[in-house]
Amino acid sequence: MGSRVALAVLLAATLGLAGPVAAATALPPQPAGVPWPTLGWSEGPPGAAIDHGTLATAVAKLFLPVGRGGLPDTRALLVAAGGRIVLERYAAGFGRESRFRSWSMAKSVTQCLTGILVREGHLTLDAPAPVPDWQRAGDPRAQLTLRHILNMTTGLDNADGGDDGDSFAAQLLFGERAKDSAAFATRVDLAHEPGTHWDYSTGTSQILSGIVGRSVGGGREGVRAFAERELAAPLGIRSLVLEFDAAETMLGGSYVWASARDWARLGLLYLRDGRWDGRRILPEGWVDFTRTPAPAANNGSYGAHVWITAQPGPEQWPTLAPGIEAFQMNGNAGQFVVMVPDRDLVIVRLGEMHVSTWPELNAQLAELINAFPPRSGMSP
């Protein structure tokens, strides 16, 4: 296994994808004899090695009827271990065919489309980001790269701004200027030197969405067709809906819909290092770049449009629990697609979070993950 890690790091370094900190645990391959879930998921019991009592308790907590109207906040919970679904449960009124909103998990989908464009040679991580508004002579934003954007270290004055009713994110998505979100997000000034300061920004994801749209061409139909051809079809994802603003920019910071099973397929793609059934979807080293902390002092354990829990720190948010090494797509109201390499797990939790808080939900998910023992032989 060590040689696999060394090879991955070497390839990542060769392509310029890895940051200053190498990712830790090797990504597990699809187990022999387990078919890729392109046509359908394999299913089976969780296995004898897991802690069934802890698992049952964790699932029961997640489905407590604590939401508004006595409904559970959790609407869908799916656990794929070793490439097979070992647990799947839905709240009343929801099921396998239900589509669930991503909120900010959309950022990771946009990251995925970006990775495909990098693999195809249309985009380059360390070249100036192709944003026409920034290319005028003397514009300091001309130095911004795709890496800055993916790491949320642009230094642009466009942080989401918390829960204020008129925060930057609220204006971006729902205000008068939401009709052209990429233009709104692009036309802000630098507040920090690029690469030195991390800020969570849906605006930055809308800038990325604009880059993806211009790279693909053809407006929203072009982006939809590209996502279908290069991502959804190869993985067997059938429920994907990308939403767009009135200017036909993908709402890649917040609005992607898919079923729980399809969210799990996307998670499995990342857990399998960007490969799917013998085909490379994401470029070599992309997933390690994805799960490497952004190089800024206050990065909040963020990688490249994906959250990381590998290295707990005082500013880490959200965190699962010490000792669990994971990387995850996260969205408002407790949307989670968690990839846990050393346990070969993909966990999907979708729904609302009216009553529970992030720490409570994180603790419940950590309890769920801890029911599954680390796989023997998985090592950094």
Binding site: S98, G165, R220, F244
Partner: protein, 96 residues
């Protein structure tokens, strides 16, 4: 002199009122936009009923009213703001 004081107070109240109205209008525009987009996507993309989707909005949206049309959701705060999100398959709901 008292007349000038009274005029100054009235002027001040008018300015404060205008600022408060503008603030309320801005927040209502965002709130109506949020409700229209969220409910439209929930109903047409999530394939749920409006009654099922409505409780998923934050409690701060309770003053926003919403009407479901054949291909759209109109959300409004009376006298302050109105927004429409239209379902344009296969691209989901677009907020206008």
């Amino acid at each position: 002199m008292n007349r000038w004081y009274a005029m100054a107070i009235v002027w001040l109240l008018l300015v404060v009122g205008a600022l408060l109205f503008e603030r309320a209008r801005d927040l209502s525009t965002i709130g109506a936009g949020y409700a229209a987009k969220e409910l439209c996507s929930c109903v047409f993309v999530g394939e749920r009923s409006l009654a099922s989707c409505r409780p998923d909005l934050p409690e701060t949206m309770e003053r926003v009213e919403a009407e479901l049309g054949a291909d759209r959701v109109r959300a409004f705060v009376p006298y302050l703001a109105e927004r429409i999100a239209r379902y344009e398959p296969p691209f989901g709901c677009v907020l206008y």
